[in-house]
Amino acid sequence: MIKFVDATKVYSNGVVGLKNVTLTIEKGEFVFVIGASGAGKSTFLKLIMHEEAPTEGEVYVNGYSIHNMPRSEIPYLRRSLGVVFQDFRLLPNKTAYENVAFAMQMVEASPREIRRQIPLALGLVGLSKKAKAYPNQLSGGEQQRVVLARALVNNPSVLIADEPTGNLDPKTSMEIMNLFEEINQRGTTVIVATHEKDIVDKMKKRVIILEQGEVKSDEQKGHYINED
């Protein structure tokens, strides 16, 4: 569960990232976070991942208090989160398989576990046949699937995606979104920050609209533009 209580983030240069946000995302929800550039989407995600801490208010993620967290606990918070980026962020000198394995090695999974889990993760994203390919041998959609496999392989309870389809064509985007939905149906909370109206409208999920750091609307089965 993720809970924001009157959370405010003001950056050191005076820019307000988020202003008095109060909301709860229950376990197993699928949430879109939308808004123009600078509306606070990134800050919202950064607070969840403890890339930033709130300047005021409280933020709870999977039982951790982001507003008051010792540095040594951050890695453990991050292990409960899977993260997908717009620009993929794969290691170019590792194959798809090795990229996913890297995430497991970093949390000291046993070699047996790794051998068992990775085919499952790559299978889930439909990339079993490309395990030995390097990122530059894969299409954008395929690379994003590898990233997704990497994000999921340690069984996080929350999947966070920042503009995951920003670099993909509409058809591939929809495929990735369907994957997200499938993952969500297995019980993982999914939070997607996006610009893409079509996807949001089609998926009919909870939509949180941010504007100048504040929550403008928060509706179940929402649409990209809510003008009543």
Partner: protein, 304 residues
């Protein structure tokens, strides 16, 4: 941290050295230059110290008798020195009588008032002894100190003035040496951390990914530390070989020049006696500055 993870991360560090050939070469070069200069300075220091030791032993030995030494006591000492001269240990010696000592002190102290009441009888008699082999000086001094007529309070020893001058030089040189060491080490750490900072910057993506998947800070540091250690060690080995070659050459040239100039005792020492110690100093120094450099440069990127 499990052994398996340690091995994995260490392997990562090793392969990084190879993968970032250009940066690694640049860092290794920095280590080589620093250690090479450091080594030359160190060798110079060892040589100066050992040559001053030789020069010390080359000085006259001065022995004062007690002011009230009897004729018998005086004869005893003279006989001993004579016997040493016969054995070829003492090359020559000179006696300064009470009268000569008095004349000398009158020349040194111009103030009449201070000399008032002082006569030759108040002055000690002394011997200035030169040895054939400076190495015998310890034995001669200890023999002399056993005679009842010898004043051990004034001390038996080397010519004080020259000794103090030599020790002054040695002291000043030590200050210069310590300063040079500090400056060179600082420069090396700065250069290496800068070079490694570039490789860290090139790999900030990797650090980021490690952080997002929840790797502990030490996991992220370790490959870079291994990288720094290796670079430091490689640099140390190459610098050592270069220093060895350079020193052998300098030693060869300088010693033949010194010999041609007629100095038989003054010379650069052999490399072998200090070889192992120098190698250890190089390795430790290289490895430490490599690791510190890595740690400094990775620190900034850890705060994601």
């Amino acid at each position: 941290m499990k052994i398996r993870t340690l091995r994995l991360l260490a392997k990562e560090g090793v392969s990084n050295v190879y993968k970032n050939k250009l940066m690694s070469t640049a860092s290794i070069f920095t280590v080589i230059v620093t250690l090479f200069f450091l080594g030359i300075v160190l060798l110079l220091a060892v040589n100066i110290t050992s040559n001053i030791e030789v020069m010390k032993r080359d000085l006259d030995i001065t022995v004062f008798l007690n002011v009230d030494a009897t004729d018998f006591e005086r004869e005893e000492v003279t006989a001993y020195i004579e016997s040493q001269k016969k054995d070829g240990i003492v090359s020559q010696y000179r006696i300064e009588t009470k009268e000569e000592a008095f004349e000398n002190i009158k020349k040194e102290i111009k103030n009449e008032a201070l000399l008032k009441g002082l006569t030759a009888e108040n002055m000690p008699m002394s011997y200035y002894i030169k040895l054939n082999n400076p190495a015998d000086s310890d034995k001669v001094i200890s023999d002399l100190s056993k005679f009842s007529g010898v004043n051990t309070e004034y001390g038996i020893g080397y010519n004080k003035d020259r000794l103090e001058r030599l020790e002054g030089i040695l002291k000043a040189f030590n200050y210069v040496l310590v300063t040079l060491l500090v400056v060179l080490s600082t420069v090396a750490i700065f250069l290496i951390s800068n070079t490694i900072r570039l490789t860290v910057f090139a790999r900030r993506r990797e650090i980021e990914i490690m952080k997002y998947v929840g790797a502990l800070d030490n996991f992220i540091r370790l490959p870079f530390i291994v990288e720094g250690l290796l670079i430091g060690f490689f640099g140390a080995v190459i610098a050592y070989l270069l220093t060895y070659q350079a020193y052998e050459w300098i030693q060869h040239v300088l010693n033949s020049i010194l010999l041609n100039l007629g100095y038989t005792t003054l010379r650069l020492m052999e490399f072998y006696p200090v070889a192992l110690r120098l190698f250890i100093i190089y390795s430790v120094f290289g490895v430490v500055i490599g690791a510190i450099g890595s740690l400094l440069s990775v620190r900034k990127h850890l705060n994601v």
